[in-house]
C-alpha cells in the first residue's frame, strides 16, 4: 500500500474486474483493507476499492439458502437478523469472535476468505455448512465449492477474478452447527479451529460437515471423518464420534512454530472435534469416552 500511484473506486462488479485488468502496473482488489493495510506491500501500484460495487447484500433465497455479498462486513454479519437466524447463528457468532469492534466495522467476509490465510476465522464454519463461492471474471460467474477454493497459504483459485459472494445451502431440519477456536490470547491468531454441522435424517445422520482451520496449508474439510458419521448407526454415535475425531486429527497436517507444536495442534484437533460433535449430537460431554475411557 505504501507506494500506491492510484486508488480506484469500482462502481459495479464488472467495473471492478475491468479496472483490475486494464490499469497499468500491479494492482489488487481492496474491501475492508484490514489485511492490506497491515501487509504494507511495497509492490502494489494501485488498488480497486470494492465498497461501492454493490456487493453488500444479505438475502435468504426462496429455497432457504443464505446469500452473502463479499463486501458484507463482519459487524453486519454479527448483527444482521437473517444471519443470526441462519443455522442457529453459527456464522454470526463466528463473525463476533473475529478481531475487535472497530476492525469488524470495515473487515469483510470476502476479504477474510480471499486473504486465504490457513487461520482465517470465518472459513471453518462456512466449510462445515457447505458454502459455495461465486467467482466473476467480468463476463460470467462460476460457482466453486469453498472446499476447492484454497490452493495454498495466501493462494486461491481466483486468479484475478472477483469473489462476488457466497451461498450457504438451506440447513437440513434440526441442523446444529458449532465452532470453536484455540488461541493463546484474544488478539493472537488461532492455533486450531474446528467447526461441525450435523443434522439427523433417515436412520442416522442426514448431513455432516466437519471443517478445520490453522492445522494445514489451507482450511480443510475432514471428509473421511464426515463419512464415518454418515455411515454410523444411532446406537453407535458415541463410538463413531470418537473415531471421527481421531480421523480428523489424522487428516490434519499442522506445523510446528513458536505458538504451538504440531503434536499439540493435532491432539487438539481430536479433542475439539470430539467435544463439538458430542455437544451437537446431544451426547453428555461429561460421560466417559467409550474408546479411550476417562473424561476427555
Amino acid at each position: 500500500m505504501r507506494n500506491l500511484n492510484a486508488y480506484l473506486f469500482a462502481t459495479s462488479p464488472r467495473d471492478a474486474v475491468r479496472l483490475l485488468h486494464t490499469t497499468a502496473g500491479r494492482g489488487c482488489y481492496l474491501a475492508g483493507a484490514t489485511d492490506l493495510m497491515l501487509e504494507r506491500r511495497a509492490d502494489l501500484d494501485f488498488v480497486v476499492d470494492l465498497r461501492r460495487a454493490g456487493l453488500d447484500d444479505v438475502v435468504v433465497q426462496d429455497d432457504g439458502a443464505l446469500r452473502i455479498g463479499a463486501c458484507v462486513t463482519l459487524n453486519r454479519l454479527e448483527s444482521d437478523p437473517l444471519v443470526r437466524e441462519f443455522a442457529g447463528g453459527a456464522v454470526a457468532d463466528a463473525a463476533a469472535a473475529c478481531g475487535n469492534r472497530p476492525v469488524r466495522s470495515t473487515a469483510t467476509l470476502g476479504g477474510n476468505i480471499c486473504s486465504a490465510l490457513p487461520s482465517a476465522d470465518m472459513v471453518p464454519v462456512l466449510l462445515a455448512l457447505d458454502a459455495v463461492a461465486h467467482a466473476f471474471d467480468g463476463e460470467s460467474t462460476h460457482d466453486i465449492p469453498l472446499d476447492e477454493f484454497f490452493t495454498g497459504p495466501r493462494r486461491t483459485v481466483l486468479d484475478g477474478r472477483l469473489l462476488t459472494g457466497l451461498t450457504l445451502p438451506a440447513p437440513q431440519p434440526g441442523l446444529v452447527c458449532l465452532s470453536r477456536k484455540l488461541r493463546r490470547t484474544a488478539e493472537d491468531i488461532s492455533l486450531v479451529q474446528a467447526a461441525v454441522a450435523v443434522a439427523r435424517g433417515g436412520n442416522g445422520l442426514g448431513y455432516v460437515g466437519i471443517a478445520l482451520g490453522a492445522v494445514a496449508p489451507t482450511p480443510m474439510r475432514a471428509l473421511a471423518a464426515e463419512d464415518i458419521l454418515l455411515r454410523a448407526d444411532p446406537e453407535e454415535f458415541e463410538i463413531a464420534v470418537a473415531a471421527a475425531a481421531e480421523s480428523a486429527a489424522d487428516a490434519s497436517d499442522p506445523i510446528d512454530d513458536h505458538r504451538a507444536s504440531a503434536e499439540y495442534r493435532r491432539a487438539m484437533v481430536e479433542v475439539l472435534t470430539r467435544r463439538l460433535l458430542r455437544e451437537a449430537l446431544g451426547i453428555d460431554p461429561t460421560a466417559e469416552d467409550p474408546v479411550h475411557g476417562g473424561l476427555r
Binding site: A33, L38, A96, N100, R101, S105
Partner: protein, 152 residues
Amino acid sequence: MKLTLSLNGHSTELVAAPGARLLDVLRDAGCTSVKRGCETGDCGACCVLLDGEPVNSCVVPAAFAADAIVTTLEGLNDDPLMRRLQDCFLEAGAVQCGYCTPGLLLVAWQRLREGGELTEYDVRHAMSGNLCRCTGYAKPVRAVLDAWEAMP
C-alpha cells in the same frame, strides 16, 4: 488524491497520497485526539467514527473518508451524551495517563447511542479493541455503565 468529507461537522477538503492512512491524515489536520499507538489495529488509540461506525484509523485507508462523515473526539466537545460520559469517567477515576481515553470514549459513546440493553458483558465486548495499560478496565467499564444508567 483530493478527499471531500464532513470532518466533525464541517465540510472539509483534504489532500492525501493514494496509500495514506486515515490516522496520519487526521492528525495532520489537527485532530490530535487520534492517537498513534500500536499501528496494527489492536489497541484502539486511533479510533474514530466513520459514518457513525467505530474504526481504527491506522488500518483504514484515507480514501475511505471520501464523501464520508468522520467524527473524532474533537467533534463531540459539545455533545451532551459525550459530556456525561466524560463526567462519569472522571468520577469513576477511569483516566490515568489518558492515552487510551479518546478511543474508549468514542467506542462507548457509539455503543450508548446504539441503544438497547447494556450489560457489563456488552460494554466489555464493545471495548474489546481498546487496550488500556493503566486502569485495568474495571473503572472505564463502570463509568460507561454509570453513563448508561444516567441516560434519560
